[in-house]
């Protein structure tokens, strides 16, 4: 019997996480070594139990054991095996179980990597991590239990939401999002521990930054995958609609990005400690808020499955977390003493501060727009939403200002700069700014904000490239070969610095691609009969006819189009209508022809198989592909920055490497 087994595992994990949390806080107070050891063991035990519970559920899904309530809810014998496997996170209860699984992995890895180090902070950090673990165990054990026993199991189930079966990205986007969301628990634990200890020493900055960077990378990729999925599946030709669930994934990312920048200032200058800790805590709170918004059914979307009792439970946890954070900050923030101060307005640290303020402004902008309808509905019972123009009109200027900082920040030196230094640093990149804006203008871009974005982007691109090549230039002057200088100066020693410029370069490309693709997008609605050729956005589209096929879990009707440009056939596209079993209405699947220059996107609106006629919407937008590519590059750049630099051990390793090679 798998359901009782799963339930037992969850109850056991609730027990060990609660006990471990208490032991962790006790060890933090009493400095008891014994208590710390046991807290660690309980942390590992929690991870093991959650892992086993998740395996149990996967086994139940794969064997179609409809006696387990979650399998009865989402399982189906008709769907392909990969859909069955990812069904774990395709509905409410399973996704919370998956949350517990990911949390277990994070806690175990973080506990293992910080064992024997950071003894000051580890007990309280484990206490915080396992408190969160206890809450989610409780959620899985009670309000969102996937391991209910079904008295009269059916022979077959409905299968997961067809929208989630419609594209393979569904298998990747949720795990990445969870790895991002859940991972924010770890830096939150460190930040709370620093406050509880009343100290944020230099030694804690390394695990703090790394534990923030890892989930940040996943979150970055996850947001992009979510947009990409919407683009490939939903058929409206866009990837971002300021939907509450999208905003929920963006909010903690914004504060985490701000924190990753302010940590650098703490490292370099010893200031902004309390601020950094606050940002990290805000990130965690926004994660919980996001979980509430997406999992409680207050917003309806593909993410919000059903109305459920877990909403109030998560809300209570959010309230408790906010209270804990506010009290902790109120009593302890002044203990994190500042070691320096900002020297001047035109310095790199001042730009970091402006960057942080802009990110916080952006966070508030998105937060207000997202939460406002909820508040109105709760207070007045009236339903409304905040329209997209609000977000666009607020976010575009702040985004452009941030892009400006990507350029101007790294160009400025730390500390006080002379007038001469400022001139040399700030004037030359104006060339890049002018260049990009002129190229944009020649390519018919007239939207003012897009041109501004291009100019800022050009400025940032020149500064970023200049910084990447700076070390190489300095070293080649001293007679080193360019290749050697690049490898040693950028890939070995200055790895973190170089990696941050890769991320900045990628951000520049991403923002330009977003600005240009959205302002230059063309939409055409066309009606075709078979064999007809019509023109849209420079492409000649010929409707070749319908193609129908029956798959085990759905009936597919595709409309085939030949796509030609300048008389040459470049692609055949087949936007589809999929009729899933157990669904009343069909689900459309758009078809996209992507090139580096731009995308052609066909979406079926209405089809008439008997008369062989079809209505489609054609979207054409430049540079869309660069959004996905640049965000992946951002993730890779950030990953590269996590590889420890060898600056400190360079001399030592030169001797030890051959020895190690011999033994290996």
């Amino acid at each position: 019997m798998l359901a009782p087994l799963g339930k037992m595992l969850i109850l056991a994990s609730l027990l060990v996480s609660a006990a471990g949390a208490l032991l962790g806080f006790a060890a933090g107070r009493t400095r008891s070594r014994e208590a710390l050891l046991w807290a660690r063991r309980f942390a590992y035990a929690f991870a093991a139990l959650m892992g086993l519970a998740t395996l149990t559920m996967e086994y139940a899904l794969l064997t179609h054991d409809f006696r387990v309530s979650y399998v009865e809810h989402v399982g189906s014998r008709l769907v392909p095996t990969w859909v069955t496997i990812v069904s774990l996170w395709s509905s409410l209860e399973g996704s919370i179980l998956f949350w517990g699984f990911v949390l277990g992995i994070y806690i175990a890895v973080a506990t293992y990597l910080t064992r024997g180090q950071y003894e000051d902070y580890q007990p309280d950090a484990i206490g915080v991590w396992l408190s969160s673990a206890a809450f989610f165990s409780f959620l899985i054990a009670g309000p969102a239990s996937p391991f209910g026993v079904v008295a009269n199991p059916p022979l077959d189930g409905p299968g997961p939401n067809p929208l989630l079966q419609n594209h393979v990205l569904m298998a990747i986007h949720p795990p990445f999002l969870y790895l991002g969301y859940v991972g924010m628990t770890i830096p939150f634990g460190f930040a709370c521990a620093a406050l509880l200890r009343g100290r944020l020493g230099h030694s804690l900055l390394k695990p703090l930054r790394a534990s923030l960077m890892v989930p940040w990378i996943f979150q970055t990729i996850a947001i992009m995958l979510g947009g990409w999925w919407a683009y490939e599946v939903l058929g409206w030709g866009g990837y971002w609609a300021w939907d509450p669930v999208e905003n929920a994934s963006l909010l903690p990312w914004l504060t985490a990005t701000a924190a990753l920048h302010s940590i650098v200032v703490v490292e370099r200058r010893g200031i902004l400690k309390g601020w950094t800790v606050t940002l990290i805590q805000a990130t965690f709170l926004l994660v919980i808020l996001g979980t509430f918004m997406t999992r409680s059914g207050v917003f309806n979307s593909v993410h919000s499955f059903t109305q459920s009792a877990i909403g109030p439970t998560i809300l209570a946890f959010l309230a408790a977390s906010i209270l804990f954070v506010v009290v902790l900050l109120a009593f302890r923030i002044d203990r994190l003493e500042t070691e320096g101060r900002i020297e001047g307005a035109a310095s790199r640290e001042a730009m970091f501060l402006v960057n942080n303020l802009l990110f916080v402004l952006l966070t508030f902008t998105v937060l207000i727009g997202t939460v406002f309808p909820l508040v109105v509905e709760a207070l007045k019972g009236k339903q409304m939403s905040v329209g997209r123009p609000y977000f666009d009109s607020m976010v575009v200027p702040i985004g452009a200002a941030l892009l400006f900082l990507v350029g101007i920040g790294p160009a400025l030196p730390w500390g006080r700069a002379t007038r001469e230094q400022l001139k040399n640093a700030l004037l030359p990149p104006l060339f890049g700014a002018g260049l990009f804006a002129v190229i944009g203008y020649i390519l018919n871009i007239r939207a003012p904000w897009t041109l501004v974005t291009l100019a800022f982007g050009g400025y940032a691109a020149q500064v970023t490239l200049g910084q990447m090549l700076l070390t190489v230039l300095q070293r080649t002057k001293r007679g080193e070969s360019a290749a050697a200088a690049f490898v040693d100066g950028n890939l070995r020693r200055g790895r973190r610095r170089f990696a941050s410029y890769i991320v900045h370069g990628a951000v520049t490309v991403a923002i330009i691609a977003i600005a240009v693709s959205s302002s230059m997008r063309q939409t055409t609605e066309l009606a075709f009969t078979k064999g007809q050729t019509l023109r849209a956005s420079g492409y000649d589209l010929t409707f070749l006819g319908f193609e129908q096929r029956q798959e085990p879990h759905r009936a597919v009707t595709g409309a085939r189009f030949r796509v030609a440009r300048d008389g040459k056939v470049v692609a055949t596209l087949e936007p589809k209508m999929n009729q899933y079993q157990m669904m009343r209405e069909p689900v459309g699947s758009p078809a996209v022809y992507s090139t580096a220059a731009g995308d052609l996107y066909l979406s079926l609106a209405n089809l008439d198989v008997a008369n062989e006629s079809v209505f489609i919407t054609v979207y054409a937008a430049p540079l869309v592909m660069w959004i996905w590519v640049s965000v992946i590059l951002m993730g890779l750049g950030a990953l590269f920055s996590l590889v420890p630099a060898r600056r400190a051990t360079a001399v030592q390793s030169r001797e030890s490497v051959p020895a190690a090679a011999e033994t290996a």
Partner: protein
């Protein structure tokens, strides 16, 4: 003696600059709040039924509204191109709708729809977006109740799959 006065002088400077910082911060925060509030106010989207819309009177003209209700039997007429006109009704009220968006595959009589747009001086509802009640909970439609009120509310709240303009 001189060091003491110098110290207090820098201390005063520091306090002054801190006060200045806090003041600048407060001004910026208030400015932001005002801009955000006015922008939200301008861009609200109301979720109304035909009764709500009639009740709102002249407020319905020009405001962005997501109107939800049922397509009245026999009211669908094709206009030129992809445009369609039809009546959306609830228990007591009927609103005439003209939409320019291509009706989705499922669009027909007696089905729950949500149209986004506004009332225009001609006295009808001009819409550029039409959504059909989308039930992803796999319930077979109950007989006699083609539109589930709750389901319609969910649809009105839903923005997934909408093109923002």
């Amino acid at each position: 003696m001189t060091t003491a006065t110098e110290l207090t002088a820098t201390e005063v400077m520091r306090r002054k600059s801190r006060l200045f910082m806090i003041g600048a911060f407060a001004v910026a925060a208030i400015a932001f709040a005002v801009i955000a509030a006015s922008s939200i106010n301008k861009n609200l989207v109301y979720y109304w039924t035909p009764s709500d819309l009639r009740h709102a009177g002249s407020k319905a003209y020009g405001a962005t509204i997501r109107l939800g209700g049922m397509v009245k039997k026999g009211s669908i007429h094709k206009l030129g191109g992809s445009a369609v006109e039809f009546d959306v009704k609830d228990a007591t009220q009927v609103v005439h709708v003209k939409t320019t968006s291509v009706p989705p595959q499922m669009f027909r009589e007696n089905i729950g729809v949500v149209v986004e747009g506004t009332m225009v001086p001609g006295g009808y509802f001009q819409s550029d977006r039409l959504m059909v009640s989308h039930n992803n909970e796999y319930r077979a439609p109950a007989k006699g109740h083609p539109v589930d009120r709750k389901e319609l509310e969910r649809l009105m709240k839903s923005t997934e799959g909408l093109e923002g303009k």
